[in-house]
C-alpha cells in the first residue's frame, strides 16, 4: 500500500529539494534547516526523527512556506504535485486545504474564544464552501470520524473544556475538514498520557489508511516512528543524516547518530537493555562545526569529518546515509 521508491510505483506528492532556512543572529546566520531533501508519496507515512534543535519543526513549517521571522527561506524548492509551494499564491491554495498541519499543542490552532462547532462551521463555510444544514451534518461527521462520542454536545464546547486527548482529536477534525492529501503532524502525541497517545496514534493510523491521507510525522520519539511510519529520515543539526525504510532503519541503522539514538531508548518489552546513549551535549547552533555536525559526539569520527559535511549518498536500494565512514556508498543516483 505504501511503497514509494525509485521504481515510482506511487505518485510523488511532495518534493522538497535543498531547502535551506536561515536565522540571522548577532554572530551571523544560523541555518535551522540546511540543504534538506525529502519526498512524500501518496498513501505514505514518512517519519522525521530528531532531537531538539534538529530543525525538524522549522522544516515542517517551511514546507508550507511559513517561517517565523526573522528566519527566512534562503534556498531550495518545495513542490506539491509539481507546483512551487514557495510561491505565495500556490501556498495559499494548498495550505490548510491539500496539506494540513497539526501540532503538539492544540491550543495553538484552536480559538479559545469560539466553540468547537463555531470553528468547524467557519472552516467548512469559508474553505469548503458548504452552506445550510450541510455544515452541521459535516461537522458531526468529522467529530464522529475522529472518535468523539456525543458529538452534538461537543460542538457546543470550548477548547479549554476538553481534555488534552479530546483537543487533539478536535484539531485533527479541523485538519481533515478540507479533505487534505497530506497531513503534517508535528509531535502530535508529545505531552499526552501514554494511553491517550495510543488512542491518537491508532486514530491517525486508521484515518490515514481509510482516507488515503499521507502523513509526515515529525517526532523525537523512536517508538512512535517504529509503530507508525513506513519510512523514516533522521535529522541532526538541520540536515538529513539517514533515510531508510522503517524495518531496515531499526534492524540495521547505518549512521552513527541513528545507531546512538537507538541505543538511547530502553525497551519496555525487554528485561535487560544496555543504554549507551550518545556522549557529549546537544549541538550548540551558534557554534556550528564546518564539517559533519555530529563529529564532536561521534565515536567513529576521523579527521576528514571535520572538513566538510558528508553528502547524503545512496548505499543501497532506498537507503541513504550521510557519513564518510560508510563504504560502498554510491555517489550517484536520484533521490528516493
Amino acid at each position: 500500500m505504501s511503497t514509494t521508491g525509485d521504481n515510482g510505483r506511487t505518485e510523488r506528492l511532495l518534493e522538497v529539494k535543498d531547502l535551506t532556512v536561515g536565522f540571522p543572529t548577532r554572530d551571523g546566520t544560523v541555518l535551522g534547516v540546511d540543504g534538506l531533501t525529502l519526498n512524500v508519496g501518496s498513501h505514505e507515512r514518512l517519519g522525521v526523527v530528531g532531537e531538539s534543535g534538529s530543525g525538524k519543526s522549522v522544516m515542517g513549517l517551511a514546507i508550507l512556506g511559513m517561517v517565523l521571522p526573522p528566519g527566512r527561506i534562503m534556498g531550495g524548492s518545495v513542490r506539491w504535485k509539481g507546483e512551487d509551494v514557495l510561491d505565495e499564491a500556490v501556498a495559499n491554495r494548498v495550505r490548510g486545504r491539500e496539506i494540513a498541519m497539526i501540532f503538539q499543542d492544540p491550543m495553538v490552532s484552536l480559538n479559545p474564544l469560539k466553540t468547537v462547532g463555531a470553528q468547524l462551521r467557519e472552516l467548512l463555510q469559508r474553505r469548503v464552501g458548504l452552506q445550510g444544514p450541510a455544515v452541521r451534518t459535516r461537522s458531526l461527521e468529522l467529530l464522529d470520524m475522529v472518535g468523539i462520542a456525543n458529538a452534538p454536545e461537543r460542538l457546543k464546547a470550548y477548547a479549554y473544556e476538553l481534555s488534552g486527548g479530546m483537543r487533539q482529536r478536535v484539531m485533527i477534525a479541523t485538519a481533515l475538514a478540507c479533505e487534505p492529501t497530506l497531513l503534517i503532524a508535528d509531535e502530535p502525541t508529545t505531552g499526552l498520557d501514554v494511553t491517550i497517545q495510543d488512542q491518537i496514534l491508532t486514530l491517525l493510523r486508521n484515518l490515514s489508511t481509510e482516507l488515503g491521507v499521507s502523513v509526515l510525522m515529525i517526532t523525537h520519539d523512536l517508538g512512535v516512528v517504529a509503530q507508525f511510519c513506513d519510512r523514516v529520515q533522521v535529522m541532526y543539526a538541520g540536515r538529513i543524516v539517514e533515510r531508510a525504510p522503517i524495518a531496515e532503519m531499526f534492524a540495521d541503522p547505518q549512521h552513527p547518530y541513528s545507531l546512538g539514538l537507538l541505543k538511547s531508548v530502553p525497551r519496555v518489552d525487554q528485561a535487560e537493555t544496555e543504554l549507551t546513549g550518545i556522549p557529549g551535549e546537544p549541538l550548540d547552533r551558534a557554534r556550528f562545526p564546518p564539517g559533519c555536525a555530529f563529529e564532536p559526539r561521534c565515536v567513529e569520527a576521523q579527521d576528514t569529518c571535520q572538513v566538510t559535511p558528508p553528502p547524503l549518498v545512496r548505499i543501497a536500494e532506498r537507503r541513504w546515509v550521510a557519513c564518510y565512514n560508510r563504504p560502498g556508498a554510491e555517489r550517484t543516483g536520484s533521490d528516493s
Binding site: 517504529a226 541505543k263 538511547s264 543504554l275
Partner: protein, 321 residues
C-alpha cells in the same frame, strides 16, 4: 510488604487531599488515597502512572514536603509524620529530591557553585576553601568539572543542569532520593547519561530511589520493584518481573501495551484503552479504573478493591483479575 529488613522509608495508608479553587467553587482534589509503600535500603522502587495519578504527590509525601491528610510516614521505622520543626530539619539531610525540569530547578541568578553549596551552608559549618573543595568534589562525582561552579546555569545544557541538580541533592549524603521524572525533559540521546549516572550513584554512594516516571521503559530499566498508580490509588505493585512479565491489573496490562516500542517488528493490532482519565476532583466510586476497564463488573462500581497478594510481594487491587 514483608521485607525482612526495616524499610528505609515507608508510608502507611497515606492520603493527601487538598482544596483548589475552580472558577468560584472550592473543590477537593483527591490526589492520593490510602497509599502504602516501603522502600528498602539500597532499593529502587519505580512509581508509574499517568497525569493526575498522584505519583508526584506520593513522592513529596514521602519526603515530608507535603503533609498527609491521613496516614503515617516512617523513616527508618520512626514515625516522622508530625515531627517538630527542628527534628524535621535534621531529617532533611537524609532525604532529597531530583526534579523533572532542570531549567527551573536551578536559580538563574546565582552561580552553580552556590546552588550546590546551599545544603552545606544550611546544615554544616563548612565555609571558604573547605566549602569550595566539597562543591568541586560533588561536581566531579556527577561528571562535571570543578570550574562549573563559577558559571551561571544558563551556560549549561539540560543534561548538564540535571547533573548539577543531582550534585546538589547528594551534598549531605542522603540515603533516600526521590527522582521525579528526572529524565523526562531531556533529549533522547542525553537521557541515558542521566539514567546511567543515577544507577552508578546508587552503587557508589549507596542510595535508595523512588523513581517516579510516566515512562514505563525507563522504569523497567532502573527499578527493582515497580508500583502502578491510577487516580490516586495504587493498582499493582510487585517485582520488576511481576509487573513487566506478568502484569495482572487490567490497567497495568493496558498501560504496558500502550507504550510504543521502538521496534517495527512488534507492530500488532491491540485495542487502545478507551476513554479519558477522570478528574481527580471527581473520581469514580469503587475502583477508580472502572470507567475505562474492559473487565469491570458490578462490584467494581460499588467497592474499592483492596490490594491483595497474588504471589510473594506481588499485590494487585482488582476484583476480577
Amino acid at each position: 510488604m514483608n521485607e525482612p529488613v526495616v524499610p528505609l522509608v515507608e508510608s502507611r495508608d497515606v492520603s493527601v487531599h487538598f482544596s483548589r479553587w475552580v472558577g468560584s467553587r472550592r473543590r477537593t482534589v483527591y490526589a492520593l488515597d490510602d497509599f502504602s509503600i516501603a522502600v528498602a535500603p539500597g532499593e529502587t522502587v519505580g512509581l508509574v502512572g499517568e497525569s493526575g495519578c498522584g505519583k508526584s504527590t506520593a513522592g513529596r509525601a514521602l519526603l515530608g514536603a507535603v503533609k498527609p491528610t491521613k496516614g503515617q510516614v516512617l523513616f527508618e521505622g520512626k514515625d516522622v509524620t508530625n515531627l517538630s520543626r527542628r527534628n524535621w530539619r535534621a531529617m532533611r539531610k537524609q532525604v532529597q529530591m531530583i526534579f523533572q525540569d532542570p531549567y527551573s530547578a536551578l536559580n538563574p541568578k546565582i552561580k552553580v557553585g552556590e546552588s550546590v553549596a546551599e545544603p552545606f551552608m544550611v546544615h554544616t559549618r563548612k565555609r571558604g576553601k573547605e566549602l569550595e573543595a566539597a562543591v568541586a568534589e560533588l561536581l566531579e562525582t556527577v561528571g562535571m568539572t570543578a570550574s562549573a561552579a563559577d558559571k551561571y546555569p544558563h551556560a549549561f545544557s539540560g543534561g548538564q543542569r540535571q547533573r548539577i541538580v543531582i550534585a546538589r541533592a547528594l551534598a549531605l549524603h542522603p540515603g533516600f532520593v526521590v527522582a521525579d521524572e528526572a529524565t523526562a525533559a531531556l533529549d533522547v540521546s542525553i537521557q541515558p547519561q542521566i539514567v546511567n549516572l543515577l544507577v552508578e550513584l546508587k552503587e557508589s554512594v549507596g542510595l535508595s530511589y523512588l523513581f517516579i516516571s510516566h515512562n514505563l521503559a525507563v522504569v523497567r530499566h532502573v527499578s527493582d520493584r515497580v508500583a502502578i498508580m491510577y487516580l490516586g490509588h495504587l493498582m499493582e505493585i510487585g517485582s520488576h518481573h511481576d509487573i513487566y512479565e506478568n502484569p495482572t491489573h487490567p490497567y497495568s496490562q493496558a498501560l504496558l501495551s500502550a507504550v510504543p516500542v521502538p521496534d517495527p517488528t512488534t507492530r500488532g493490532d491491540h485495542e487502545p484503552l478507551k476513554g479519558d482519565l477522570p478528574s481527580p476532583m471527581d473520581p469514580p466510586k469503587g475502583c477508580r479504573f472502572n470507567t475505562r476497564c474492559p473487565l469491570a463488573v458490578e462490584q467494581c462500581f460499588e467497592e474499592r478493591p483492596p490490594l491483595r497478594e497474588r504471589s510473594s510481594g506481588h499485590l494487585v487491587a482488582c476484583w476480577v483479575n
